[in-house]
């Protein structure tokens, strides 16, 4: 090879990703809490006409902040430690660093997210009362909801990475992330469902993880997943643009 490329940078980012024990503990703990919430939600489901699948995936509302904040830290910890200078000395094509980080971290979150949502489903359904109908993964719609909820956790991880890249300071970026995910929907979403159709946290609960239609959420879950995916795409593109233009 006559020059470094995506392959080398992905290997660098994978070594960085796997070598921080604290990241794995937080991720494992966060996903365990996601599953625990799902089991509790399953046990508390009493409405026989409700949507138990959606209920047992409720832990995603917590899991998203874990993957999101880890996404923030994946970039901001490089700035706070000074490692970013070494990273950019090794790979001066900075958008390549961001692309490799997104690939590695996004893959880790996707695997963790799917494990968490499948475990939430299996645990949550096992905890359901006998009076409530038990959904099955053999039902394509149920399987879609579980898979999409896991994908959602990976996408919020990438949203965090994008916000972290733009803001560079961990606390500021985590604040903006949590505010954006949880507070904005309270301000807008409660007032109008039309806005909720574009808000990740509303989409996750009312469309991606839902098996039964929710009033106001008439769009296909695939379209809604695409809308959620626009957030990391735009944020990472903006972050990559800023990386090139700002001094490291």
């Amino acid at each position: 090879m006559d020059s470094y490329g995506f392959r080398q940078v992905v290997r660098m980012e994978w070594i960085k990703q796997r070598s921080l024990r604290s990241v794995w503990w937080v991720l494992a703990g966060g996903m365990a809490a996601t599953v625990a919430l799902g089991v509790v939600a399953g046990y508390n489901t009493r409405n026989a006409g409700g949507d138990p699948t959606s209920n047992v995936l409720a832990g995603v509302a917590l899991g998203q902040v874990i993957t999101g904040v880890l996404g923030v830290l994946a970039m901001t910890s490089e700035y706070s430690s000074g490692l970013i200078r070494m990273t950019f000395a090794a790979v001066p094509r900075r958008p390549l660093v961001l692309a490799a980080k997104a690939f590695v971290f996004g893959s880790v979150c996707l695997v963790a997210g799917e494990i968490a949502t499948f475990a939430s489903f299996l645990g949550g359904i096992a905890a359901l009362r006998s009076t409530v109908p038990h959904p099955s993964l053999a039902d394509g719609t149920v399987l879609r909801a579980v898979v999409m909820a896991g994908v959602y956790l990976a996408l919020t991880g990438l949203i965090g990475l994008g916000v972290g890249t733009i803001l560079r300071h961990g606390a500021a970026a985590a604040g903006v992330l949590v505010g954006g995910l949880y507070v904005l929907p309270v301000i807008f979403g409660a007032a109008s469902h039309k806005v909720g159709l574009f808000m990740p946290i509303m989409i996750a609960g009312n469309s991606l993880a839902a098996v039964k239609p929710v009033a106001g959420f008439t769009w296909s879950p695939w379209l809604e997943l695409g809308i959620v995916a626009v957030y990391p795409l735009v944020l990472l593109a903006a972050g990559g643009w800023l990386l090139v233009r700002r001094d490291a």
């Binding site: 470094y4 080398q8 980012e13 070598s19 200078r85 090794a90 790979v91």
Partner: protein, 234 residues
């Protein structure tokens, strides 16, 4: 070979580096002397492409840093501040850089031995003393066996044995034909290490000469020559 042509960097209203033009040649140790805040670190960052110049250019072997095909095989840098994550071991930090540079993992053990950290490779870098951190930075710089070395205050935090050790290492790197550019505010150290010297003050180049010539200007004292040059300049 390192070249700067009219290299200028402003941060807001502050001119950190002002119209620097110089060449640094292989096979010699070139010292970069200046008071604190004179623009040494900024110049290093400009050479590494970490900061973009406001005007002028910084070239490594005739090309801007961004154009290097395997940057760490061409240039190794020790920056003034720490540049590793405290939670990673010295070895994983170096393995990550080795991966980006496509050098084999055994090179990691080579550079760890070279800088005297062979027994500390599996310790987390956050537990390192300042001197050990400096050695890890040097290991990072040497990972790709580069022909150009940019060392910003490399003796910071080293004990006397460490200072002697790094001086000998710097000399041997230059004798082997590398281009070595070492910044310091310690004049006596530069007198022992460098062949040539650039003096910078207030972001401007004040002298570009041999150590012997500069010392002669100070009546035999490099320190006197330096203080005369930089008198009244930040």
């Amino acid at each position: 070979m390192i070249s700067a042509r009219g290299l200028t960097k402003r941060y807001g209203d502050t001119v950190a580096v002002d119209d620097l033009t110089f060449d640094i040649h292989p096979g010699t140790v070139t010292g970069f002397l200046g008071p604190n805040g004179s623009g040494k670190s900024t110049t290093m960052r400009l050479l590494l492409g970490l900061d973009a110049p406001t005007r002028g250019s910084a070239l490594i072997g005739g090309a801007p840093y961004q154009a290097l095909r395997w940057p760490l095989r061409s240039v190794g840098a020790v920056l003034e501040a720490r540049s590793f994550h405290p939670g990673r071991t010295a070895r994983t930090h170096l393995l990550a850089l080795a991966a980006a540079t496509d050098v084999p993992p055994r090179r990691v053990d080579e550079v760890l031995s070279l800088v005297g950290l062979a027994d500390a490779g599996s310790r987390r870098a956050g537990t390192f003393s300042l001197g050990m951190a400096q050695r890890l930075s040097l290991a990072s710089a040497l990972i790709g066996d580069p022909g150009v070395l940019l060392l910003d205050e490399p003796v910071n935090g080293l004990d006397p044995a460490g200072v002697r050790w790094i001086r000998d290492l710097i000399r041997s790197l230059a004798v082997a034909g590398r281009t070595v550019f070492v910044s310091s505010h310690l004049i006596s150290e530069m007198a022992l290490t460098a062949d040539r010297v650039l003096v910078i003050g207030g972001g401007r180049l004040l002298a570009d000469t041999t150590v012997a010539d500069l010392a002669a200007r100070g009546g035999g004292s490099l320190e006197d020559a330096f203080l005369t040059l930089t008198e009244g300049i930040g």
